[in-house]
Amino acid sequence: MKLSLLDQLRAPGAIRVEFQPIMTVNSHGPQLYAYEALARGPKGTSMERPDVLFEYARRKSVEAEIDLICIAEVLTAAELLPGKPSISINLHGSTMTNVEQFAETFLALAKAHDIAPERLMLEIVEHRAPWSMDILRTTLDELRAAGIRIALDDLGVAASNYRMIVDCRPDHLKIDRYIVSGCSTDPYRLAVLRSIVTLAQSCAAIPIAEGVEEQHELETILSLGIDKVQGWLFGQSKPASAINLERIPS
């Protein structure tokens, strides 16, 4: 019998993981700050595209289940990374509230893979609010107490807005590529970036610019005081087995 698409996604190993470097760029040059883990569906299917994969999961109302599968696959793949780099993992905010004892489950999984919580960052993406605020706060507190950092993903677009900052109190603000791309020539993008830098300072959060692809964009980002960057300028995503730390510029 032909498997449904959902059953295909549930099969062990169907979700593949690649890692893209997040760099710190300062007077010492670029240095690896963390890897963002990027989940991909089965090759040769529409689910190979992560935006389609997670949109499908949301439409099937299985985002928590798919998130948990992705987390398990990421932690398994992360064991192959050279050194002991920090790893950033995407997660729906609703998963933290809809999965019972999420913090406990996540920490147990990390321990099973021998990955210290201090190496982990959770990037919250959200497309659907509201959720239970009490559970969200408790879960975030438990995760933070264990040493896990919280980032707000896609800042500046979609549902990643001021409410998310208020609700999640993130340690990092990941600025969406839509704002970053073309920032060196667009005064509106520049204005938004400036306001995010001010916001980050006021919230004691570290901004990370995503989608940096051009040298002039990097220069603009750095001139604003953002020193954490991610994008093709520093490398595309790769499977853990293809990553060699010596290739990361340092």
């Binding site: 698409l5 529409s46 389609v52 499908y56 439409r59």
Partner: protein
């Protein structure tokens, strides 16, 4: 940029692949979906110029192929839509046009006929 983007929605792999191959040769970029939710997920992130959908998708619940018309009408308003069916009734044909289909075709039909119809509706002809 290639503005000939086709989404094929059909749970029958053989037909879906045949349409993909045929329309790729005509210069279309083609995505395929076999479920309603998969089609909606694809259409959320891609602006299709043409959608060829089967009326009956076994992986979906309810009015299946007709459901995608409602979604496309609001989220992909420029897409021209051909609905294919092996068992369609007069009611489903009427309903398809009411929900925004540009053409309704009974299967099986040669791929060349579907391609001709696609050309007509993308030029503004038919319904």
């Amino acid at each position: 940029m290639n503005n000939r983007r086709l989404l094929v929605i059909d749970d029958e792999e053989t037909i879906s692949r045949a349409l993909e191959r045929y329309f790729r040769r005509l210069g279309y970029m083609v995505d395929r979906a076999r479920e309603l939710e998969e089609a909606e997920a694809l259409a959320t992130y891609t602006e299709y110029s043409l959608v060829i959908a089967d009326l009956s998708l076994t992986g979906s619940v309810g009015s299946e192929g007709l459901e995608i018309l409602r979604y496309l009408r609001w989220n992909c308003p420029r897409a021209r839509v051909i609905l294919l069916t092996a068992h369609g009734s007069e009611y489903s044909e009427r309903e398809a046009y009411r929900r925004g289909a540009h053409a309704f075709m009974h299967k099986p039909r040669p791929l060349a006929d579907i391609a001709r119809l696609a050309t007509e509706i993308t030029r503004g002809g038919v319904h």
